[in-house]
């Protein structure tokens, strides 16, 4: 595929890996924010190939993982209603709530459908006027323009049986929360390339400045990630701390302004709970007053539901980068993809799932057989 496959070239990747190992005069610790980047790293075995040159700490870049338990439970409550068709991206279906997940609700008779795009959910609402269609609007800034458009269109076209359950989070506050944490070890960041495609990178400049950390806007293919790492390491070696753009084919400093405009029209910033981390001020998006009639929480009276996390899941430590999944005492034993204790184990983006599925043990000798 054009503009995709060429960024998986094995020979070029090997060359970049060598470059990184040559450039680093000491081990550096970087964090990639986005779960999609985590997956490429672990799926391609990049972290293993870097030797000791770089330690990658996997950040809270998975909106599935950081969606608060409350929101999952609200989703489950909505999905169980006979008058509701609950629509969602596939990622959310196996995330555990307090008592079950969406797949189990489906087994009990809930009408739950996976959609590819929020507009599909809206179309479904138009086609089934006798049902309420609720869409689980989850994501970072990358998905916010799509979710915003679904709400805006619903108003435009007068679709009254459509509503959204919102659980949006934004990246920069999470990064500063990590940097503010007393046990922070992150020395540089690979910023999420598609979040920045939408938002640009101006929000990261004050962060780089204040905390003296290089921030490299990075894509998702192996060559993108390797180049991002190389640029970050170079900055660290040279004592620089700038925002740099590796993902030039997709990201401009100003981002995509029309998308930002509609996000601001439909949503406002609010304090948000991050599962496993806690409350981060002004880190979430909530529907504005004018669009409150599309808020499923209000429409179905779920605003005041609140819950507590099971104690054993160490998702918070994993998400903050203080615990590698393998170091968690429950990893692979009490907590597995089939019986997850927390979201990072089920989400296709979650660091724990990535480790469990791809790197449960390292076996460099497998190919000597």
């Amino acid at each position: 595929m054009k503009y995709l496959s060429e960024y998986r070239d094995g020979a070029v990747a090997q060359g970049l890996i060598t470059r990184i190992r040559q450039t680093a005069t000491r081990p550096w610790t970087l964090m990639e924010v986005c779960g999609g980047q985590t997956h490429t790293i672990v799926r391609q075995g990049l972290d293993e190939l870097l030797g000791g040159a770089i330690e990658m700490i996997h950040g809270p870049g998975c909106p599935v993982c950081v969606t608060p338990l409350e929101q999952i439970d609200k989703a489950l409550a909505l999905a169980a209603r006979p008058d509701v068709i609950f629509t969602s991206f596939g990622d959310m279906l196996r995330v555990p709530g307090s008592e079950c997940d969406l797949l189990q609700v489906r087994a009990r008779g809930g009408n739950i459908r996976v959609v590819y795009s929020p507009l599909d959910a809206l179309e479904l609402a138009i086609r089934t006027p006798d049902k309420q269609v609720v869409f689980f609007a989850v994501g970072f800034e990358t998905t916010a323009p799509a979710n915003a458009m679904a709400v805006w269109r619903a108003r435009e076209l007068g679709v009254s049986n459509f509503s959204v359950l919102v659980s949006h989070v934004t990246v920069p506050p999470a990064m500063t929360a990590i940097l503010d944490s007393p046990d922070n070890r992150v020395q540089g960041f690979l910023a999420a390339g598609h979040v920045c495609s939408v938002m640009g990178w101006t929000e990261y400049e004050p962060i780089a400045e204040r905390y003296h950390v290089p921030i490299v806007v990075t894509g998702f293919e192996p060559l993108d990630i390797l180049e991002g790492m190389l640029l970050a390491v170079r900055q660290l070696e040279e004592g620089r701390h700038e925002v740099e753009n590796q993902y030039v084919r997709s990201v401009r400093r100003e981002g995509t302004p029309p998308a930002q405009d509609l996000i601001h029209k439909i949503f406002r910033l609010s304090d948000r709970q991050w599962r496993g981390i806690g409350s981060i001020p002004l880190s979430g998006l909530t529907l504005r007053e004018e669009y409150a009639d599309f808020d499923a929480e209000i429409r179905f009276g779920l605003e005041t539901l609140s819950v507590q996390e099971p104690a054993e899941c160490r998702a918070g430590d994993v998400l903050r980068g203080n615990l590698k999944p393998r170091q968690c005492p429950a990893f692979g034993t009490r907590c597995t993809p089939e019986h997850p204790l927390g979201a990072p184990m089920v989400s296709s983006e979650g660091a724990c799932a990535a480790y469990y599925n791809y790197a449960r043990f390292r076996s460099p000798t497998a190919h000597e057989g």
Binding site: M1, L4, R8, G10, A13, Q14, I17, G36, H39, V42, Q44, G45, L46, E48, L49, P63, L69, D73, G90, D91, L93, R94, E99, C100, D101, L103, Q104, A107, R108, R113, V114, Y116, D120, L124, G139, T143, G301, T304, S306, V307, Q308, P310, E312, R334, T336, P337, E338, H339, S347, S348, E349, N357, A359, R360, F361, S363, A366, H367, E368, G369
Partner: protein, 352 residues
Amino acid sequence: MTGVRYAAPACPVPLADNERVQLGHGSGGKMSAALLRDRFLPHLGNPILQELGDGAVVSLGGAEIVVSTDTFVVSPLEFPGGNIGALAVHGTLNDVAMMGATPAYLTAGFVLEEGLSLDLLDRVIRTMADAARQAGVPLITGDTKVVERGKADGLYINTTGFGLLDPGFRPGPRRAESGDVILLSAPIGRHGMAIMAVREGLAFETSIVSDTANLAPLVNCLREAAGDAVAVLRDPTRGGLASALNEIAQASQVGMALEETALPVPGDVAAACEMLGLDPLYVANEGVLVAIVRPDRAEVALAAMRAHPLGAEAAAIGRVVATNPGYVVLKTVVGGTRIVDLLPGDQLPRIC
């Protein structure tokens, strides 16, 4: 609802274990395996069933016969490249062939939902008749039931196949040995993505068509070329290539080392997988077989497959190894390694 509700106690047993069947139990992954192991085998287990092959081998009046049964529940009933009838015939013929037997007879049981279009039923039956005729395998007995509207996804079909076993050709999931070469007869991912393309909520436009096919003639080529050196045969249907290889690795207690660069994935399948965030290794196939062959006959086996239309794009994709028994390990495009594990349930499209 107000106030704080406490979650499940901080006890290692997580979510309340569900008491119901879930879709994941039918995916061919870990949940399916657990269902078999924990629910079916304890009561029904016997030495023949315990083998858990694609079919069973029985001795009847001196002849060795393979029996295999499968039920087809695909939705939608018609999809690019075929319909449920094609799957029902090919699927069971293939299961018999994967045991090394020459398919001889088929039976078919139908569950029809009240309201099913008779035109559609007609198309399905004609497809089955054509497929059976081309294979030279008559459908000799069957059954039909009708259930109320809403109780079946239009149509379910069960087929059972019988074939005669040649004593000199007994591939089986426990026969893989370190050093064996892993051969794939054709590119992967076509069937599953052809179905995905017409699934509501995920639909996209594509020329991907299901690869449903009778593989018995291809198996014949392999038998003639490499005979008993063909240690294992498996058609990777639900759960994809990853699930099939994991099952064999477990059964034979061997490891497997695959090369990502050697895996044949058609461009349009790869593109569709990229779009939905799916991994081709887990996507169902209906016209592909995996052959695990002793190293001294691997070249000959590969050449024999390539000489047949169904195996024109056959490739060697890896080796059986002694390290890490039970695990399938992939060497990635950039030279790293990763485990190709069984998924717990169905693979789900993702946004992340």
